[in-house]
């Protein structure tokens, strides 16, 4: 079958790295269950989703998990 461009949002970057994802993003410090952010953090959730989609347009780094910081997660 053909491949499908895929971006992973992971909160377990070490485990994800072992699976060699084509594209992956780790929002730094986000806990399991909060892949996009905490409940109600709508603008942050949308930003994380947008950033994950944008990774699909960035130079390829297959197998790497890109770390991104979102200070508003803890605020």
């Amino acid at each position: 079958m053909r491949g499908i461009p895929t971006a992973l949002i992971t909160v377990g970057p070490e485990a994800s790295r072992q699976m060699r994802p084509p594209r992956a993003m780790y929002p730094k410090g986000f806990k399991v269950g909060n892949s996009l952010g905490k409940p109600g953090q709508r603008e942050l959730q949308k930003k994380v989703l947008r950033d994950a989609l944008l990774i699909l347009t960035e130079p390829a780094r297959p197998g790497q998990v890109v770390e991104r910081e979102y200070p508003e997660y803890e605020s």
Partner: protein, 142 residues
């Protein structure tokens, strides 16, 4: 899938603009519609089935069944793990081309790794490809 070397990274280039792409969400976070059969968390080996979530589902239609992560936040706000509602906003803004009519949720805990790798994951990928007609997939865990 099983013919790939374990050292390969399965990478497919994106050959269209995001603004023209049909996006599918796939989640291992145990998301399903409330009117669908929940994932069987009594199965110690892990339920390997998946559920199809319609692209116009509202958050109140959805729930999480999963016994291997604390999903209390997702129970309050499913956007934490399955941002379908937000994806629709990105479509309305023109950031993405289209939200697919169907998306996929499964329960990512399994002890049946070989079956997941050799059978179930390819089945899901086939569904995402042929039925969801994905140009792009965003994958979330919990």
């Amino acid at each position: 899938m099983s013919s790939l070397s374990r050292k390969c990274v399965p990478f497919t280039p994106l050959e269209r603009d995001l603004a023209k792409a049909r996006v599918v969400l796939v989640t291992a976070a145990g998301v399903h519609r409330r009117d669908q059969e929940p994932f069987n968390i009594a199965d110690d080996l892990g339920d390997l089935t998946f559920r199809v979530v319609n692209g116009d589902a509202v958050n109140a239609d959805l729930m999480v069944t999963h016994h291997h992560y604390d999903h209390s936040d997702a129970d309050r706000d499913i956007n934490c793990v399955f941002p379908l509602e937000l994806l629709r906003e990105l479509q309305a803004e023109g950031f993405i081309g289209e939200v697919a009519r169907e998306h996929v949720g499964y329960m990512g805990y399994t002890m049946q790794l070989k079956k997941m790798y050799d059978e179930i994951a390819p089945q899901m990928a086939e569904y995402v490809d042929k039925k969801c007609k994905a140009d792009v997939v965003v994958l979330t865990g919990g």
